[in-house]
Each structure stands twice: as C-alpha cells, then as structure tokens.
C-alpha cells in the first residue's frame, strides 16, 4: 500500500451508524488506534461491533480460499466488511455441498445472502458485480513456460495439467486433445474416488502444491480460487489470465472471464438495494481486499 493512497483516504468516519468503516491497515499505520495483532492478515478488532439485527449469511463450511468455519476465507472477510456497512450482526449458516446451497439454504430461508455467485445467475437476484476475474494458467516461474492461451504449444506436451472437472478448463483440455492423457492425474487428485452423484472436492491448494513441487507443470484454475496459494508458494509461481477468446473444436466460445456478485432470493428488493449500496460505497475497500488476496482483477465492462 503506497503513501499516496493513504493521504487521499483522509476521510475516516467513526461516528455515523451507516459508515462505521474501519480500515485496519490504515489504523495500524497511523497509530490512531491500538489494535492487537496488527498485521496485514489479522482479523480486524472492530472498535464498535454492528448493533443492528442479525443477518444470516450462507457460507461454505470448507471451501478455501473462499470460506471456512474459522472465517479465514476472503469471502468471510468480505462478509465482515458488509456486516459493518449494513450495521448487521452476521450469523453464518454453513453448507457443505456447493451443488445445493441455493436450493436448500438460500431458497429455504435458512440464510438470506450469498457472497459469491456469477452475476446474472438465474436462480437468484444478483447485485452489481463487485469484481471480474478469469481462469488462469499457473506454472513455475523457473520453467518459463510460454503460456499465453489455449493455443500455446507447451500445453500439448506437458505431462500433467491440473484442472477441476465441470469447469471451462475441462472443456478446453478436451478441445486441445489432452483429456485422455490427463484423466488419470485428475482422478488421482481426489484419491481415485469416483462418485457419480456425490460432491467430490478438488483441493486447490493441493493442485498448486503439485505445481510447486514439479509433479505437474500447469494448472488451469479460476484465478480467485488459486490466488492465495500462488502468492504463498515458496517456489515462485506465475499466474496468467487466460484470454476470453478460447474456442472449442466446433468453434463455440468457451468463456474464461466471469463477474462475481452477491445475491439474495428473488423478490428481496430491499436487501438487494442495501447490498448494492455497500458495493458502491466501499468499492475501494473491496478492491483492496481482493488485491490483497492476489486475485487478478479485470475491468468490469
């Protein structure tokens, strides 16, 4: 964070109900408030906790780096920021199976907000997108792979490509004719569990670990899901956004860039407006939160 940013952010409103914005880093640096554990990644000790009514947020019990029960995910961080802005006490309602959190949690009223879905997801009412990102090629810096797009030759010769089934990466792996010879590695990533109707979790940190160790040469993952691990890797890794122009064999476009929004049940206009206000008012904080995570941000338009 550079000093220019510090000085332009001179407004620090502590008093109004609506705008109880506390930038932990800002406070740490200016020394205005003594905060314990004042490091970049600490959960902020908030000088005044939200006083408004409880807001139930659907959150993943264990889907890092988005969310977990300990609140270590970046969507948990965003949730806290949102709670501050709306002055609502956050109550997390945890789901385990990502296939059904809309059907079985949000739409059943067990919780009222979801933090990360695709903008325009037809199942729900989505806010304006609060960021746009893309799938990324991840590899070891030292390998110096010429990875620009799915047309890059190197993708045809590497021995292992890590990807998550059901994602655009799988479609592209098939399109470049590498599906068969990367299939077994893909199954190995989940310990050879073959569950046709059950959710089998792909551990992104494990896939990044395989890149760091050299077991696999490339992983092609949704940037936000991998950013933190790429950043934390002891072996320097590179992350390149896949251009959105990828097409499969029949010429059909396979989108690589997506916008993320928050969402509520259809018809919950008031809450949706509040979330949109939050996103608009705090777009700097949100952007910084995402940059902190290492997420490659693309322009929303």
């Amino acid at each position: 964070m550079d000093n220019d940013y510090l000085f332009t952010r001179h407004k620090l409103t502590l008093l109004t109900d609506k705008n109880m914005i506390l930038k932990s880093k800002l406070l740490c640096l200016t020394g205005l408030v003594l905060i314990s554990g004042c490091t970049a990644n600490a959960q902020p000790e908030i000088a005044s906790a939200p006083t408004g009514e409880v807001l139930k947020v659907c959150a993943a019990e264990n889907e890092m780096p988005y969310s977990n029960k300990k609140g270590e995910g970046f969507e948990n961080k965003l949730t806290r920021l949102m709670g501050q802005n709306l002055n609502r006490k956050i109550k997390y309602v945890y789901w385990k199976d990502p296939r059904y959190f809309v059907r079985d949690f949000l739409n059943k009223g067990l919780c009222d907000v979801v933090i990360g879905v695709d903008a325009g997801d037809p199942r729900v009412a989505t806010t304006q997108p609060y960021y746009r990102s893309g799938y990324t090629f991840i590899s070891r810096e030292d390998d110096d792979l010429d990875l620009k797009s799915w047309d890059s030759d190197v993708l045809r010769s590497v021995s292992r490509i890590g990807y998550i089934p059901g994602t655009p990466s799988e479609i592209m792996v098939r399109a470049i004719g590498r599906y068969s010879d990367t299939f077994n590695y893909n199954k190995e990533l989940v310990g050879f569990k073959s569950r046709r109707n059950q959710y089998v979790k792909y551990d992104v940190s494990k896939m990044i670990g395989d890149i760091s160790s050299g077991k696999a040469e490339v992983a092609v993952l949704w940037g936000p899901s991998a950013a933190r691990y790429v950043k934390e890797s002891a072996t320097p890794l590179t992350m390149t956004v896949v251009p959105d122009s990828s097409t499969r064999a029949d010429g059909k476009k396979v989108g690589q860039h997506y916008s993320t929004a928050m969402a509520v049940r259809k018809g919950e206009a008031a809450l949706l407006n509040q979330l949109n206000s939050f996103i608009k008012q705090q777009h700097y904080e949100i952007e910084e939160l995402l940059e902190d995570e290492g997420i490659p941000l693309l322009s929303k338009s």
């Binding site: 089934p165 299939f183 199954k187 949704w222």
Partner: protein
Amino acid sequence: MQIKKFARNMGTTILVSSAIFAVSQQVNANKKLEDLSEQNTNWVMQTKDYNASHYSSMYQINIQNVHKLKPVWSFSTGVLNGHEGGPLVVDGIMYVHSPFPNNIFALDLDDPDRILWEYKPKQNPAARAVACCDVVNRGLAYAPGTKDYPPTIFQDQLDGHVVAIHAKTGKMLWKIENSDIAMGSTLTSAPFVAKDLVIVGSAGAELGVRGYATAYNIKDGSQVWRVYATGPDKDIGIGEGFNDANPHYGQYGLGTKTWEGDAWKIGGGTNWGWYAYDSDLEMVYYGSGNPAPWNETMRPGDNKWTMTIWGRDVNTGKAKFGYQKTPHDEWDYAGVNYMGLSEQMVDGKMTKLLTHPDRNGLVYTLNRENGDLVNAFKIDDTVNWVKKVDLKTGLPIRDPEYSTHMDHEAKGICPSAMGYHNQGIESYDPVKKTFFMGTNHICMDWEPFMLPYRAGQFFVGATLNMYPGPKGTLGQVKAMDGVTGEFKWEIAEKFAIWGGTMATAGDLVFYGTLDGYIKALNSKNGEELWKFKLPSGVIGHPITYKHNGKQFVSIYYGVGGWPGVGLVFDLQDPTAGLGAVGAFKELAHYTQMGGGVMTFALD
C-alpha cells in the same frame, strides 16, 4: 543354429524327438491339473474345472438325506469385509483366503483344528482407499508341481501384485507387480492357471485404467503375453483371421475407430472376473468390462472392445473371436461374468458351447470354437433396456425409454447397474443339461444432473436409485436350458444371490444368501430342502469334496462386496454406492460383518 547344423548331419531325429518331449511336458503339466479337477476329492480351481461347471458327480449327500447336513468344523479368517470366491481343496489340504490384507491359510483336512501354514502379505495400505467396492478377493489358484516348479498357490493381491506361494510350505516363490495402485488400479480377481501359465486380469476402469489380461510363466512370473481391451489391433491381440466366422461382429481397427480421438487410452474394459478353458482347442475364454468414463456423452462410438466375450489362444493371447454384447454401454453392465462351458446338441449336431449370463440381463450361448451366436435370451422377462438380441447381427435392439442419457430421466431400468447377474460362478448339471443361476432382480431410476456453481463451473453427475424389480424381491434362483432359453423352474429370494451356485449328482443345488443362509434345493424342481444360518452373509460360492470317503460341503461367510457397501462402510445415503445402499438397506437388519469358512457333512 548349431542344433540345426547337427540335425542336418545326423538327420532330423533328435530335433523331432526333443520337440515331442517338450510338447508332452507342457501337456502333462496342464493335463495333471485337469485330472485333479475331475477327482471328487479335490476342488482345484475356483471354477471347479476348466468348464466352470461347479458340478460334482457325488451323490452321497442327496435329496433324501440333505436335511441331515450339519456343521462339522469352522475356521475364522480373522478378517471382516466381503469374502468372495471359495476355498480350494487339493490332496487333502484346504486353502483358505481372505479379503484385504489377503491372508492365506492351509488346513490339513485330517486335522482342521490346526493351521498347517499361513501366508500374510505386507501390502501398501493405500490399496484399501483405491478399491471401489469393498476390498474383496475372488480367490486362489493352484498349479500342480512339475520338474520345473513345485506345487504352487497363486493370489492376486489388492495392491496390484501377484504372488506365487509353495503349496506345501507357504513360502513365497516369486512376486510381481501386475497393476499400479498409483494409477488407481487394484486387483480383486482370482488368477487362472492353464498349461504353464497363470493368467491375471485388471480393475479400475472408471479411473482411466485401460483394461488388460496378462499371462505369466508359472515358474518365475515372467510375462508371456498381455492383451488389452482397447487400442490398436496389435495391443488387443487381434490378427489375421479374427472373427472370420462372423465378420459382422467386426474385425480390424475397431479398438481405435469406435472411439473419438484417443479416448480409447482411458477406455476401460478391465476384466476382473472369471475364465474358462478348453484344453483341446487350447482356447481361454473371458469377458472384458465396461467402458470409461461412465458418462456416455464423453465417449461416442461403439467403444470396442469393451463388453466383449473373448475366445483366445492360451499360448499367445491372440483372439480367435470377440463378440461385443453391449456396444456403447450406458448402464455399467461390466461384461466380466463367468463363462460356463458345455457340449450340447444344437441343430442336431454336438457342439462345443460357452454360456455366459451377462450383467445386462441377457444370457449368451456361443459356439466356443468360432464364436457363432447360438442364442441370446433374457434371464428374466423384466429386462427392458433391450427388446431382444437380433441373432443374425448379434446386436441388441434397444428401447430408448431406458437409455441413460444426460438429458433424459429414466425410471425403472431393468437391470440396474448391478446387473441381473453379477460376479458369482454358476453351475451346470450335464445329466439334466441344465444351468442353475443365482441372480439379482434389481432395477433402477436414473436422474442425471448438471448443476451450476460459479465461474462457469457445473457439477455433472447422475443419481441412481435402486430397488427390487417388478417381481418384488431382490434375487431369484433359476434352472435354465442354455441352448433353448427355456426356464425349468424359478424361485424368489429376498436378497440378491451374489455368490453363485454349486450342483451335484445328488440332485442338489447349493448356494449362499446375503443374509447368511447356506441352502440346498432340489435341483429338479427348486424345492428348498435344507438351510443353515451362518455367522454372516454370503457373497462367495459353496464347494464340495470327498475326504476319507465322506462328502463335505464348505462355504465362506462374510458379507460385503458391492451389495454390502452400506453395511460395511456404514453408509446412510441411499444413493451412495451407485444406489446399492438403498437397495440393500434391509440387509443390516439380518446380518453383520464376519469372516470364515464353515464345513458341513452328514452324521
């Protein structure tokens, strides 16, 4: 070179006589096992004999006295999990095996109180996690001693190794790796001995393992031949003359042409089932399993040569014929079930036959010399994915209502993925010319889904729900004519008959049930004459043998396997185990895990 020169000088006498000597040695090794298999004192292979008859000519125990059968001794293997296959008995020694960790015990039938020897392998514990459907093992194989090697017991281990053990001492003779568990490939099959070879299959189709069968030298475990289920003809063992008698089955290049791109590389077709052997024709028979991945939209094409009945030259592995039963499988009807050989009249001519009850609910009878399709009929009239098999083309005429496409929800598909027949070995009574089949009667609903998540990711899958078929129970036992497709009698069983049957000249057919009964029926009419409740359910088959003039029946107990996954792994979701958990949810009310062998005799 030198020998030839010598022969030219000395005449060809020496060369020819040494060739005859070599051939007769080979024939002797093979013949000896065959002779042993015909002796009532033995049960030398899992299939009982090379015909896989599971039939004994003994009638000491018969329909008059079987009600007096009682347990005379028992032995616990010390292992839980499903006990498939059966013990072997050779020269008064019983060889008992267990599921993982695949322990082997030898018991002297003169003194079954004591363990003669045991072999407890040290295996990579990671093998457990990779196995899909319980850590079963289908049994041991035996080769009699020759001048080149001692009497040997063989076992396929879960961690992919094949081991040869001295049958008298229990000492390991050699061990080789057939399958790599790091690739998701384990072994659950029983090895098969023919001539001086031990033949081993493969498993792990769903994980991208391309199926293969391998023959190893009994003497030292060196590889003699290996044939794949998919890929170039050379890999599959397809050469000139393949399917010449039935070119419409398909001949050349189809192991690649019936796949898109290089999809054959992960095409599956693993074979973990049973073999049969004709020592006159020197042909070995077995079936290749299901294609991969399970989602049929990912592999357009007939997917040859998965789901195929093979007739191969035992010396080279070369295929004489291959008949694909279920082109482009959609239901997981793995084609690895047992092959029962018989010789019967077909159109007024005595014909060598092969009869095979497939997972797909059809029974196929082929001329085993050339692969001609003699008959293909439904094992139960409720089979519905297929209307019938066109005997001229060999192709199933499918009913699209029971397809499992990703855009189609199908209800009441019969058979379910478990098949109307699974891995049990059945029996054939050559006097009655009747096969006895223990079957499944399980149907399923198919619910595909494609659920959105985020960032363009979808969860693609399918939920299977399984339940008893229209006749109301999960299993049946049937007596059938393999040539005409006529059923002589049929009885209902509460649970699937997973382990197979054994028949005798005493007019009896024996089998075990999943809830733990060993039963004896009158093989003429299916009347139940005797049963005994074992300590745990049965997924193996009974055997019978004579010792010191007395007839015994032995069977493994120890529920598990695919039907037992809910019970074994304490699963609650009815759709888990591809729906097996729901289908067999009642089982836990009747039995729990166990593991051992129980032996019965008359007083």
